[in-house]
Amino acid sequence: MWEMLQYEFLQNAFLAGIMIAGIAPVIGVYLVLRRQSLMADTLSHVSLAGVAVGSLIGTYPMVTAMIAALIGAVFVDTLRRSFRAYSELSIAILMSGGLASAVVLMSFNKGASRGFTSYLFGSIIAVSTTDLLVMAGVVALCALFFWFFWRPMYVLTFDEETAQVSGVPARALSLAFSLLAGLVVAVSMPIVGVLLVSSLMVLPAAISLRVSRGFTMTVWVAVVTGLACVLGGLTASYQLDIPPGGTIVLLLLAVLVVVLVVKRVFSLGASRMESNAKVVNGKTVEER
């Protein structure tokens, strides 16, 4: 198994996977708790339009994808405030807008359709050294953000109004978080692909929320789950010659199903033991 790491492209893929899996689930936990689970999906569709622009004008696609994601993040945050009662509307508006732009822009550049496939579904041979450096920059930025703003982000995520009263600059912090989410989505594309990038954010959070007690534990369990599934998925992808994005997401889904089933069995067992204990106690009292 270890011999596969002698290939440079796989070393790059694993390094990229570790970096993405280290940060995407953290973003995912906040997205889920802020009821913005579909935001990553939206930003990935907008990023795809950025990739299309990049290949059309002949520049490095990840940069144009990042720019598109940043613009998308600003729009999501602004529209979310404009449609406060229907905040998911902003997601729907941008998702359709992003995908429509991408499809139209791609049609102008028919020769690049093969390259687009790797952005749509992810590819372990698509990660270049430049991609790795950009990813490392984004991950470092995210790490700094959460290091400095861990406490205000917690307060903001729990309740925006109480956060504002306690002096948290809710609007600025919320926008900064959306921008970071956009950047992470854009740099995750080469590995998991546009269509599955949100799963890498949301599924580890969903798994972690089922098993963790406390906020810090939720974040750490999500990161560990993400890392395990990304590394496992990349290995399986290489060994079985299947797309990495889909493999990683299927692995995450499998873990989620196992967690849900095990939790259900445990809770059924616990309630059965509780009711048995009541019956036993009842009989003992009657006999006495």
Partner: protein
Amino acid sequence: MQLAELRDVVFGYGQAPVLEQMNLQVGASEFIGLTGPNGSAKTTTLKLLLGLLSPQQGQVEFSSTGPQGKPLVVGYVPQNIASFNAGFPSTVSELVRSGLYTRKRWFGLLPSKEVDRVEKVLKQVGMWEHRKRKIGELSGGQKQRVCLARALVLEPDLLVLDEPTTGMDVEARTTFYDLLQHQVQHHGRTVLMVTHDLEETLPRLTRLLVLDKRIRFDGSPQQFQERMDLRARTATLPLYCCYDDEERDAALVAREGVL
């Protein structure tokens, strides 16, 4: 000493104002109940006072210091906060501790004196034994008590609560109001609370405000009781006439010819 003041405030969500020429002063060590019919802008008033909304006209002013001369600290428990984010993956003590995360405390270790307060307020609200439970596992009343503890942990000079006892049973409500009264009487805090539960809160309040687009009544519970005694005579008049001297008198004169 005035902690906060709304002066000639006008506010509306659309074209029609929901608050007209609102004047309100909040002093130290007061237990103020804010009541009024649905849609009378009670929550809006609190949000204007807290700076969550900006007035279209008029001014909102805060004292820079509290009664002890230290910077003014404000605590806030919004309406239904506990049910809004019930699935938040926090333990009770983690959530209460987060009440300490004001701008000055974003970085570094929290002073042990402040961390000790988490235990103190959890004991005050009767939730210490539940400190390791997830908030999603608590009942509605328990969640509200945790949210109150979170607001109290900063030792606020002004505590603003928006219908904090929604969903609580009678016993839990009584305990909750006793706790708020204790904060006013023994810690010198000011409590401003939106409530419809006048029967239980009135004996504890030091001041009652009745709101309907503007303040219709502002006085002590005793004065309010006197107004309520007139209710039989004013039963067919609009509700606010029970509280507003001028409008009540005008309505009575219009109907009965005499006061």
